[in-house]
């Protein structure tokens, strides 16, 4: 009954009001990319490259400036943590299961971590260096940041981000 009594708004007023809606006007529709073998290969390649060398995933995708900045930042943290502040990588102790978490954080460095495992560099404690705890923190955070960089490379590869 109320529907019958309520006059329909004129068509031109509807057309005029829709674009002025701030939510509608400001939110661009996400670009939807359909999955294809090429897209999947590109994403996998970018993720592997980003995990192997910090910033390499962005370089594979043609984002050279971002790649250089990311590589400088993460490599700088890694080198400063290991050599300037005397940090070390954590090792898993089966008697302390929670020690797996810092190992996971360190392992985020990917290729750099694998290189250190191969050379067995950075696993010995250096308590004579007074800033070794800063070094440990630098190595942990560098690994965690590299996880973010891998995810960012994936987002760019699949078109979720420019």
């Amino acid at each position: 009954m109320t529907d019958a009594l309520t006059p329909d708004p004129p068509a031109d007023s509807l057309a005029a009001s829709t674009p002025s809606d701030p939510l509608v006007a400001s939110a661009p529709l996400p670009e939807v990319k359909t999955w294809s073998p090429q897209l999947a290969l590109r994403a996998v390649l970018a993720c592997i490259a980003a995990a192997a060398i910090p910033g390499a995933g962005h370089a594979v995708l043609g984002r050279w400036i971002r790649a250089a900045l990311l590589c400088t930042a993460i490599l700088g943290m890694f080198l400063a943590g290991l050599f300037l502040f005397g940090g070390r990588f954590y090792t898993f102790n089966p008697e302390e299961p929670l020690s797996i978490f810092p190992v996971i954080a360190n392992a985020g460095l990917g290729g750099l971590y694998a290189l250190c495992v191969f050379l067995h560099a950075g696993f010995d404690a250096r308590p004579e260096v007074p800033t070794y705890e800063y070094g440990n923190a630098f190595l942990l955070v560098a690994g965690l940041l590299n996880y973010l960089v891998v995810l960012d490379a994936f987002d760019i590869a699949v078109g979720r981000k420019k």
Partner: protein, 54 residues
Amino acid sequence: MHLLAMTLFALCVSTVFAIVTKEDPREQFHYAIKAFFAFLGIALAIGWLMYPFS
């Protein structure tokens, strides 16, 4: 050494955060500057707040 470590940490982390969270280069630059000074300022403020209890 402590201030150097904090500054280096803030610089590297704010750079990565800016690149990962923002798309436009201008936004990235502004975000990196803000995050860098926020890291330093908050760390110094907390340090001074803890000073009377040390």
